[in-house]
């Protein structure tokens, strides 16, 4: 039984009329993993999660959660599973606490006894008696996490949990997810933010237009990623570009400077060269991280599939 995957989705397809939202995807999440499903808007992430919760039915393929599937086990397949899809929604005229108590009634077991604990866990104790209609977006997200934790889940599914949060909220949400993951919980997280997934997840599936373009560990993804890019702005960008090429760096010209890509030590040496040559350095910023660059390469390439060097079927390196 311990070999049973937390999530085992095989060849899932879902179409709405002529639009294929999810096209023959396979996603497998082991127990205890923090797994990211990454992709731009419209990639099919939410459709996949909705199928996982039984909110929509796949046209073909199989989907098991801890060995249970909707066709065979119905709502029992959600035993030990909790989370939210897109932004969590509640009854606006009721307080946060009242909403949780109502939802606990639909969970059964000892869920009702956990209301105080989960409110404390997400930092909403002080506002628990306020009506949800007065909650900020971030507070609703946290209430969504609280409502999921009421179920004392083994698998926590979070769809874009940091969406709409301010920087402090994002930091707190990531810390909470990490702490939950440290307890042995399996976490399945969807996001369009590579940085978020990189910080939280062990493994990742990258989707694009309903298909999987890559899956594997974050570590393996890092190996595939290009070098870090820097944006350099000087008083003489043409001369700076020559210096960069002389160092073997990849250079592209932008409106407000140069994009330079290469090993960090070579970029450091280039900066020294520029200053030694008497060119004034006006700006030096890190562009997208290597993983973000890879993410854009994977998801913005031609619809036919992943970029050269990656296997279309497995998403891994050829």
């Amino acid at each position: 039984m311990s070999d049973v995957l937390a999530v085992n989705a095989v060849n899932l397809t879902k179409a709405y009329g002529s639009l294929t939202a999810v096209n023959n995807i396979t996603v497998q999440v082991a127990r205890g993993e923090v797994y990211g499903v990454l992709g731009p808007n419209g990639a099919g992430k939410t459709t996949f999660l909705r199928m996982l919760f039984g909110l929509i039915r796949p046209d073909s393929g199989t989907l098991e959660v801890f060995g249970r599937s909707w066709p065979r086990h119905g709502v029992n397949s959600l035993s030990g599973v909790a989370g939210f899809i897109e932004s969590p929604k509640f009854y606006p005229a009721l307080s946060g606490r009242r909403n949780l108590r109502l939802l606990a009634g639909l969970d059964g077991g000892d869920a009702a006894d956990r209301v105080d604990d989960v409110l404390d866990m997400v930092g909403l104790t002080a506002r628990q008696h306020d009506k949800v209609r007065g909650y900020s977006f971030g507070m609703r997200q946290r209430l969504g996490v609280a409502s999921a934790l009421l179920r004392n889940p083994r698998l926590l599914v979070l769809d874009e949990p940091a969406n709409g949060l301010d920087p402090a909220g994002i930091r707190d949400m990531r810390a909470l997810v990490r702490r939950l993951a440290d307890t042995g919980l399996t976490v399945l997280l969807s996001s369009h933010d590579m940085g978020e997934v990189e910080q939280i997840c062990d493994n990742v599936t990258i989707m694009k237009a309903g298909t999987v373009v890559h899956h594997g560990s974050i570590a393996a993804l890092r190996e595939l990623a290009p070098e870090q890019a820097h944006r350099i702005s000087t008083t003489d960008d043409d001369r700076a570009a020559e210096l960069a090429r002389a160092r073997g760096l990849e250079v592209t010209t932008a409106d407000d400077g140069l994009d330079v890509r290469g090993p960090q030590k070579d970029v450091d040496a280039l900066i020294a060269d520029i200053v030694d040559t008497g060119i004034a350095l006006r700006g030096l910023t890190r562009d997208e991280t290597p993983l973000e660059a890879l993410f854009f390469m994977l998801t913005e390439s031609a619809p036919a599939g992943p970029p050269a060097g990656l296997d279309a079927a497995t998403g891994g390196r050829r």
Binding site: G105, M121, M173, T183
Partner: protein
């Protein structure tokens, strides 16, 4: 979000039964200002109506209108005849037409369907809540109307529809039975509102459409040459109490009305149930 996270134990819980889900829906309904106002209105409005009509000239063109000052038993029948035109369909639809669609309005289907209850449980909990609420409203409306009428006008004998005089002792059961005939069509309209609530996912349409459809049915029913079709309309059972108040009462229309209403109830609920079961929850 700084509190310690407790260790996660494997989830082992018993799923809530349909009675628990029913209690959940009833709690939710009881928390709504509208539903509480409706219950209060079902008691208070008839008192106001009876008091107002008691000071007006009797409306002689309406059934029992000419008797509302001479018999307290006539007033509830006059109110019933008026209420069935659009008030009862509206009362039936106010909660039933909204009870499913408001989950769409709030985007909460995904919230409740990711818990430990099935769509079937949710469907029956909502349906039974709407049915129970509407029956309660009807009972309060009838009780308030009858009680107020007897207190304000008095318990004089009731003129029958074939000219006979019904003694006060017999009139009360007949008035109650007349109001009871409204139960079946009210349940039929409840099911119709539930169907529209499920299918349109729009509370406004769920509430307003049964009233409009009821008016159209009354219009169709008033047309000549449609006797067979008239029997199948959901508004016709509202008039079957007339047969109870003749010198030689006839009950066949009441029976037919119950069967027709039950047919509407079964068909509407079956379609609504299948629709909800098969629906992809994509919104919110």
């Amino acid at each position: 979000m700084t509190a310690a996270v407790p260790a996660v134990a494997p989830a082992a819980r018993r799923r809530p039964g349909t009675a628990t889900v029913l209690r959940w829906e009833a709690t939710k309904l009881a928390a709504q200002v509208r539903s509480r106002a409706l219950l209060i209105g079902a008691v208070v409005v008839p008192i106001a109506v009876v008091l107002i009509f008691n000071t007006q000239l009797p409306p002689k063109d309406t059934i029992y209108g000419r008797h509302i000052h001479t018999s307290g038993y006539a007033v509830p029948l006059f109110v019933l005849a008026f209420a069935h035109q659009w008030v009862l369909p509206l009362l039936a639809a106010l909660v039933a037409g909204d009870i499913f669609a408001n989950e769409d309005q709030h985007g909460t289907w995904k919230t409740i369907l990711t818990r430990s209850v099935s769509r079937t449980q949710i469907f029956w909990a909502k349906t039974l809540t709407a049915v129970g609420f509407n029956l309660l409203v009807l009972v309060l409306l009838a009780a308030s109307t009858i009680t107020t009428s007897l207190l304000v006008v008095g318990s004089q004998p009731l003129p029958g529809l074939s000219g006979q005089l019904i003694p006060a002792g017999h009139a009360l059961p007949l008035v109650i039975a007349s109001w009871a005939t409204a139960v079946a069509p009210v349940l039929g309209f409840t099911a119709l509102a539930i169907l529209l609530s499920v299918v349109t996912r729009n509370p406004t349409i769920g509430v307003a459409s049964p009233v409009v459809l009821g008016m159209i049915m009354q219009l169709v029913g008033s047309l000549g040459g449609l006797n067979k079709a008239r029997r199948l309309l959901l508004t016709t059972p509202f008039e079957t109490w007339h047969g109870l108040l003749t010198a030689h009462p006839f009950h066949a229309p009441v029976t037919t009305g119950v069967i027709v209403s039950a047919g509407w109830l079964v068909v509407c609920l079956a379609i609504a149930y299948l629709y909800l079961r098969r629906r992809d929850i994509t919104g919110g």
